[in-house]
Each structure stands twice: as structure tokens, then as C-alpha cells.
């Protein structure tokens, strides 16, 4: 609908500062997970004095079971290109990259077609729409490392280096790709830009809660009747998402927990189902918004096993650069293995909490800082399950195969 009309209107009628003003008014926050205000990020890059600036789109969607970005890239790649071009105009960049994972061949193909079409139509490339503004976009394919979704690792990967994060500051907005000021935003964030430009920041800010504006796409998965992608206004409750949109739990089983935010998010129990979904309340509950994964679990799930599964993912996706994440995730995973096979001790539980706190506090990047979330949130809401595994060597959901339990029953 109205493809590239927002870009053309922006180029004709708006000055770069007015674009940023509209972005700030919209209250849009980064949809990749951290929720940094997009207008603020853009204005930092716009203010930076540098002959070269970049716009980078993070399309390295790595959360298991999440495909929000994939659906946008495969169905409407032009919208992302348009959002990037508007961003480039706003900050004075003339070159951009889309870092898309190679596991999305259809998205890559359609992006290539969309870029070629836009260049032919004069909507990307030199002198866009007959103005003096030029913007070139190229693709970079990710090699399948989860950590490359972290912005500094992603930029290192584009530069051809090993995909490992570096300490911030300096933030990419000050020193990003090839040490130039860089906007780096997620696919969904850029896709939100054209409608904001067409209808104004105030229109967008009318949707959502006080500090989380607009809509968010979630990938609803797990034990619900209706799985798939949903776009909902910020502030909707978890109950509405799971029980109404998701159609409840199949087979008449009981809802147990919902895991939000991908492998480094937390598990939220039934008593918090009426919490509104926004950046603040999810953080308050020990989880994160993340990029929008939402996995529903019923009573047949063992929460210790769930924590172990996500910790294994984070352990194998850690880049190995900083010591707390590299060794800490491995030690936590091995500890969870001991608890789930019946050889855990009460001392393990104390050490487990200390290690989670250490990894969360001292890791270099967001991967390590959020990796303990599944363990910490399940310890907070489902501690009794850990205790049952340790004290009576039994798994309440009968998921874990405990050595000693088998011996006892024989």
C-alpha cells in the first residue's frame, strides 16, 4: 500500500531534523529486544560530525521458533528498504547493509529482487526521486551464529571479522561500522518507519502504553490452539494473547508458564497472566520483550528441563570471548544436567543462583547478560520443582529421567 510514497514525501517535504522529530514523537522503541528509543538513536547519529555514515538492518533473527522478521522480509521487503532509506536521509548516510541470515534463502532472494527493482525505479541508489539524496543498499549473509544478532558482533561480521561483541561505549551511533556513526535497527523497527512518516508520529503514539508505543509482532508457539504470528497493540495482557487470540491450551490441560523473549527470556507463571505486555512489565517479571518469541507451556513441561534447554542453547551460542559467559554458561548447564538426572545437591542450588548472578552482571554483551534469565525466572516462580528434583529425586512433570528415582521404584 503506497509503496515508497512515504520516502518520496519525506524527500520532498521534510528536512532531516523533522523526520527525527516525528520518530521521537512516535515513541517507537527498538523492536530487536533492548527497546532503545529509535528517535534518540537516529538523532545521535544525525548530530555526529563525520564524512561517512551507515544504516544497518539487523535481520539475523536467531531465536528458535521466532520468525517475525522472516515474514516481513519475505512478504514486504520494500517496506524495510523504505524505512532504511528514510533513516539514511534523516542522519545523512549514503550506504547501508542488511545483515540477513543465510538460513532464510527466500528472504534473501526477495530482498535482492526488491533492491534491484527499487534501483531501476530510481528509489534506491543515486539521486533518489530526482533529489540530491543517494543511498545504496547491499546484503551481507550471516553464517548462522546467534551472537551476530548482537549489534557490535554483527558489525564486526560485516567487516569480515570474527563475530564477537566488543565493549560499549562507544555505541555504534558514535562509532559503528568501519568506525563511522551507524544506525543499526531491527527489521521490524524499520518496517514501522514508513507508516509513521505517512500518518505522523502522534498517530503512532496513540497506540500502546505510556512508555511502549505502537504494536508488536509476536511468534506465538508451544501449547496453544492457535499458533503463528500475531500483531497486537502494546499493553495487551498475556491472558488476552494466550487465551483469546491463542485460543487457550489444547486438550483441556492447565496453563503453566509462558516464555517470552527467546532463549534468553524468562518464564512467566499463571499468576501474572494479567500483566500488560510492554518493555517495563516484562523486565519487572524477570523476562524480556526480546524480539517477540512467545512459547506457551502447559503442565506437561518440566521447568528445570526448560531452563536446561535454553541454557544449552546459550552455552553453544556464546562466542567464547569473555570468561563469565564462556565458562559460566557451561557450568550452569552442567549443574542443571546434574539436577535433572537426580545427582544435584542442595549446595548446587545456592551455587546455581550465585553463578547466574555472576554471568548476568559481569558478561560483556547482551547474550551473556540475559542468558541466566530462564534459570533465574524459573527459580523465582517454580523453585519447588528444583527442590523436588534435588530432595526426592523426582520430576513432577515426569519429563526428566532421574537415575536414582528409577533405582528406588525397582
Amino acid at each position: 500500500m503506497g509503496g515508497y510514497s512515504a520516502l518520496l514525501r519525506v524527500l520532498e517535504e521534510m528536512r532531516p531534523m523533522e523526520v527525527i522529530e516525528q520518530m521521537a514523537r512516535s515513541g517507537l522503541r527498538g523492536r530487536g529486544g533492548a527497546g532503545f528509543p529509535t528517535g534518540l538513536k537516529w538523532s545521535t547519529v544525525a548530530k555526529a560530525v563525520h564524512p561517512k555514515k551507515y544504516v544497518v538492518c539487523n535481520a539475523d533473527e536467531g531465536d528458535p521458533g521466532a520468525f517475525m522478521d522472516r515474514s516481513v522480509l519475505e512478504s514486504d521487503p520494500r517496506r524495510v528498504l523504505e524505512g532504511m532509506a528514510i533513516g539514511a536521509y534523516a542522519v545523512g548516510a549514503d550506504e547501508g547493509y542488511i545483515y540477513v541470515r543465510a538460513e532464510y534463502p527466500l528472504a534473501v532472494k526477495r530482498l535482492r529482487i526488491a533492491i534491484a527493482q527499487a534501483e531501476r525505479m530510481g528509489l534506491l541508489g543515486k539521486n533518489i526521486g530526482g533529489t540530491r539524496f543517494s543511498f545504496h543498499v547491499d546484503l551481507r549473509l550471516g553464517g548462522g551464529a546467534f551472537v551476530c544478532g548482537e549489534e557490535t558482533a554483527l558489525l564486526a561480521s560485516i567487516e569480515g571479522k570474527r563475530g564477537a561483541p566488543r565493549p560499549r561505549p562507544p555505541f555504534p551511533a558514535e562509532s559503528g561500522l568501519y568506525e563511522c556513526p551507524t544506525i543499526i535497527n531491527n527489521v521490524e523497527t524499520f518496517a514501522n518507519v514508513p507508516p509513521i512518516m505517512r500518518k505522523g508520529g502522534d498517530w503512532y503514539a496513540r497506540i500502546g502504553t505510556a512508555k511502549s508505543k505502537g504494536t508488536k509482532v509476536f511468534a506465538l508457539a508451544g501449547c496453544v490452539n492457535n499458533t503463528g504470528l500475531i500483531e497486537v497493540p502494546m499493553g495487551i495482557t498475556l491472558r488476552e494473547i494466550i487465551m483469546e487470540i491463542g485460543g487457550g491450551i489444547p486438550g483441556g490441560r492447565q496453563f503453566k508458564a509462558v516464555q517470552t523473549g527467546g532463549p534468553s527470556g524468562g518464564c512467566i507463571p499463571a499468576e501474572h497472566l494479567d500483566m500488560p505486555v510492554d518493555y517495563q512489565s516484562l523486565t519487572q517479571l524477570g523476562s524480556i520483550m526480546g524480539s517477540g518469541g512467545m512459547i506457551v507451556m502447559d503442565e506437561s513441561s518440566c521447568m528445570v528441563d526448560v531452563a536446561k534447554y535454553f541454557m544449552e542453547f546459550c552455552m553453544s551460542e556464546s562466542c567464547g570471548k569473555c570468561a563469565p559467559c564462556r565458562v559460566g554458561t557451561a557450568q550452569i548447564y552442567e549443574m542443571l544436567c546434574r539436577i535433572t538426572n537426580g545427582t544435584g545437591t542442595p549446595d548446587d542450588l545456592k551455587l546455581l543462583e550465585e553463578l547466574c548472578d555472576l554471568v548476568r552482571t559481569t558478561s560483556l554483551c547482551g547474550l551473556g547478560q540475559n542468558a541466566p534469565n530462564p534459570v533465574l525466572s524459573t527459580l523465582r516462580y517454580f523453585r519447588h520443582e528444583y527442590l523436588t528434583h534435588i530432595e526426592v529425586q523426582a520430576c513432577p512433570a515426569q519429563v526428566c529421567k532421574l537415575h536414582s528415582a528409577a533405582e528406588v521404584t525397582v
Binding site: 551464529a145 551472537v147 570474527r162 566488543r166 565493549p167 561505549p169 552455552m315 553453544s316 551460542e317 556464546s318 562466542c319 567464547g320 570471548k321 569473555c322 570468561a323 563469565p324 559467559c325 564462556r326 565458562v327 559460566g328 554458561t329 557451561a330 557450568q331 552442567e334 549443574m335 551455587l351 550465585e354 553463578l355 555472576l358 552482571t361 559481569t362 558478561s363 560483556l364
Partner: protein
């Protein structure tokens, strides 16, 4: 006329200090005789912020900051040895000891090891988590040097000195997470390396017994690091 060098004043552990604006907290602490533990950091090489031992507390910030890359700011209040950071440092050291194999009594670097020295200085009395003891290889294919992965803590000093000072970039990393390890060229035996100049800088900067010279007893395996500040100073003077 304004001075080309601007000075910032800050406070480290109740001591007022002044620093050049481009200095890090670690540098200015050292200049003022305040010791902050560090391991991946070594004077003369770029900062990596990987070991996380130099984490310090800054008043008004809930997060901990690595002193090796933390730039000084006017009015900043830094605490280098609070109870909180001391506890985390000891645990990070324990994690490092638990990761591979660090049995000092049978190590060539016993008595000349940065990791061992830090454990003593930070009062690490025992390792609370289980030792992982993975079975890792030893590369003794080079004529003069030995690489023992079992002693490596992935500080990347060898990687950086080879790239930044020697300019050979023989060393790099491969593998992710707990499976990461240093490699020579494209994971080839050291003795077969086409790029290694045999300069030995990597061996001298290695904090542990992961890189050592052949044919020396543990009493003799003292790392000679004087070349590094010398070379970096000479280069800067030439610019």
C-alpha cells in the same frame, strides 16, 4: 589559547586524581598506585575487555564497568575494590581455573604465572565448581615453542601481539563458547606454519603455561616482556 590536552578530575577509592581525558580508569589508577586486577589487558596491546577481572563500580551506575576500556569522566567516583566486585572477581577466577587444567605443581610456568599470582592476590582459597578437565591437545611441532591448550585461558594476548606488533597474524580463534580455542593459521600444526616468524612474542606475553619455550625447566621459564613497551614507544615516536 586552550591547552590541547584536557584534564579531568575524578575520585578513585576516596583518592582525588587528575587524568588526561583520553586515559582509562585502569591507566590512571596504576599511575596513582591503585592496583586493579587484570589479565587479558597488557600494556602495549589494544584492550579486549574479555577477562572481566578489572570490573569496577562507578557511583550512580548499577552496572559494573571494565576499567581497561572505561574512559575517565569529570567528577566520576570509582570504587575498585568493593565487596561486590571482589566477590565477582574471585568467582571469575574460579571459573577460569575450572575451565581446563590448571594444576600449578606440574606446570612449566609454576611461579611465573599471572593466573596463579592473581589467585594468590585475590585470596582464592579453593574452586567451588567442579573442574571440567576437557581432554585438549598439546602442539609441540614447533622447533622452539610448545602450545598447551589445557593451560590456555583465551585472553588473546598472543592473537593481539602477533597481529598488532609482529604483523604476522598467525594466531586467531576458532570454535564458539566453551569450545573456542586459539589456532595457528587455519588450525594447522605450529611447526608447519607458513606465517609464523618464530619471533616468540606470543610466548613472552602468554600469562600462563599455555605457550612456553622448549627445553627450559619451570624455574627458568620466566617471561620476558620488556620488548612490548619498548616497541610501542618506538613506534609512537616514529609517527
Amino acid at each position: 589559547m586552550t591547552s590541547p590536552v584536557r584534564v579531568k578530575t575524578l575520585r578513585i577509592n576516596d583518592l582525588d586524581v587528575s587524568a588526561r581525558e583520553d586515559e582509562t580508569v585502569l591507566e590512571i589508577a596504576r599511575e596513582n598506585g591503585i592496583w586493579i586486577p587484570s589479565l587479558c589487558e597488557i600494556e602495549g596491546l589494544s584492550a579486549l575487555s574479555a577477562c572481566r577481572l578489572c570490573l569496577v563500580e562507578v557511583k550512580g551506575s548499577p552496572r559494573l564497568h571494565p576499567a581497561c576500556v572505561l574512559k575517565v569522566e569529570e567528577g566520576m567516583e570509582v570504587f575498585t575494590n568493593s565487596e561486590r566486585v571482589a566477590k565477582y572477581r574471585r568467582m571469575i577466577l574460579e571459573l577460569m581455573f575450572s575451565e581446563r587444567n590448571h594444576i600449578c605443581s606440574v606446570c612449566v610456568s609454576n611461579g611465573h604465572c599471572d593466573l596463579q599470582a592473581l589467585a594468590q592476590m585475590l585470596d582464592m582459597t579453593h574452586v567451588e565448581m567442579p573442574y571440567r578437565n576437557p581432554a585438549l591437545s598439546v602442539d609441540a611441532s614447533h622447533q622452539r615453542f610448545i602450545l598447551d591448550h589445557n593451560r590456555c585461558i583465551l585472553c588473546q594476548r598472543c592473537v593481539r601481539v602477533c597481529d598488532e606488533i609482529e604483523g604476522a597474524h598467525t594466531w586467531d580463534l576458532m570454535g564458539r563458547g566453551i569450545n573456542a580455542r586459539v589456532i595457528i593459521d587455519l588450525a594447522e600444526p605450529w611447526g608447519a606454519s607458513q606465517t609464523c616468524t618464530g619471533c616468540g612474542k606470543c610466548v613472552q606475553v602468554c600469562p600462563t603455561g599455555a605457550l612456553s619455550e622448549k627445553g627450559v625447566s619451570s624455574g627458568e621459564m620466566i617471561k620476558k616482556r620488556q620488548f612490548l613497551p619498548y616497541l610501542t614507544t618506538m613506534r609512537e615516536a616514529r609517527r
